[in-house]
Amino acid sequence: MTNNDEGAGIVSAPSRVPGQPTRRELWLRRQRRKAAIIAVVSTVATFGGLAWLITSSSGWPKVKTIFFNAERFKEDFPEILGYLWVDVKLFLQTAPFILLWGLVIALCRNTRNPVLFPLRAFAAVYTDFFRGVPIILTIYLVGFGIPKLGLLEGDFHFLGFGGNWTSPYLWGPIALVLAYSAYVAEVFRSGIEGVHESQRAGARSLGLSHTQTMRHVIIPQAARRVVPPLMNDLLSLQKDVALLSVLGIIEVFRRATSIKDLTGNFTPLVAAAVIFLALTIPETRLVDWYTNRQRRRTGGSQVG
């Protein structure tokens, strides 16, 4: 074979001027600019159209005074905002117990020992029950039902909330813990089952017992996987504490409704929505940021 590799066979591309974008780069840039312009135009058209549709409707002037009354908003917003702490406090009180109890339920469901079968059955029935019943029903039944039993009397002191044993400030959070832990248990369980079987084989082949394998190999890996879905559940919890208002707990939603009942104007509810959004939007962004980071971190290193 003759030596003919001095550039033979290479089709020379149009020469590239250093520092100048190529024809392809220019085309890509134009495409990107075009896409951006279309996105802006379409957004303005859609939302402008919707706004026009709403504000030109016959009922709009009435809706505006009832729901978007600037004066009422100015007056009611600070009053309602004062109750935000109640929602945050209820969240902070329930969240740790939900995580703990959820993990216990998940571990019960993962037991293999036949002696522990009752635990497994209990966990299965528990998650089926509380995931199947609307949370608001659980709150009604636990919050009104259990105190009516009259089993407990007198006062209690409970992480900053004190009061009567029949207080909704006790049974409301308990109802939330019962309901939410069922969801959280499922998240934990899918996290545990999501760790690939080969990890178990790797650990067991070293002679590690089932318990050691769970503790050192499976649970630490499951914990990382469950953080994004857990954060989602906690985000819902932050909103669902408002449901406890049905038991008479006065918080943002409850205060807003009572002002609405007094004035006949719905603007305080809009104010309540604004307050919840101010709380949950940063949380949502945090969840998204973390989930993306997690995906990036584990994305490139999967071994087939």
Partner: protein, 250 residues
Amino acid sequence: MNTTAKIEIRNVRKSFGDKLVLDDVSLQVGAHDVVSLIGASGSGKSTLLRCINLLEPIDDGSIHLDGVDISEPGLDPDPVRRRIGMVFQSYNLFPHMTVLRNITLGPTRVLRQSKASATTAAIELLGRFGLADKANAYPDQLSGGQQQRVAIVRALAMQPELMLLDEVTAALDPVLVGEVLNVIRDMRGQGMTMILATHEMGFAREISDLVCFLKDGVILEAAPPAKLFTAPDRPETADFLQRVIASGRL
């Protein structure tokens, strides 16, 4: 019956559902022997290894380690597994632990060694296989060949009496295969008893005392490599080797 066998597999049968994956398999491996299992994918090589390590229960037959039946139903598998090392095709390293922690987990938790002595032993093993600077790396920071060498070190750290290697180079980039094969050569030099399932025919030929050709869950032919690779008795073996040669892998 040869009582000096390190591991003896007697008439083992195993099915997954309706599919019979091991059909009356018998094999004896003496101490310090290296046995290769060759055959097409799905011929039962991996399943046989997993059965020896009790990762899969067998349906019939028995498996004896130093003459003791380890396949007895109800027997605690953990003490057996700590005597048998296993390395997997996909490494199965623990991604949330450093290389060092991957290696010392077994010795500290199972063999109850002190952390200090387990660490010293691990560092020494890593050094022996050219991985001394990787002790504090995480598995996903290593190349496939490095990960597989760490997996072998992890198994070796338990000081096993028998090593099972399940297609340990099959997931590797061709240029990384050599470094892993060198580790296996090193282990052979140290007198380790090994059973390896492999597609690396040249390597099987070089390293094995005995080569077993499996087809459809049956050991069709078992012979020293010089015989099996040059003058196999069974036409199926010849046919398999012919196809391997045709694909350029021998």
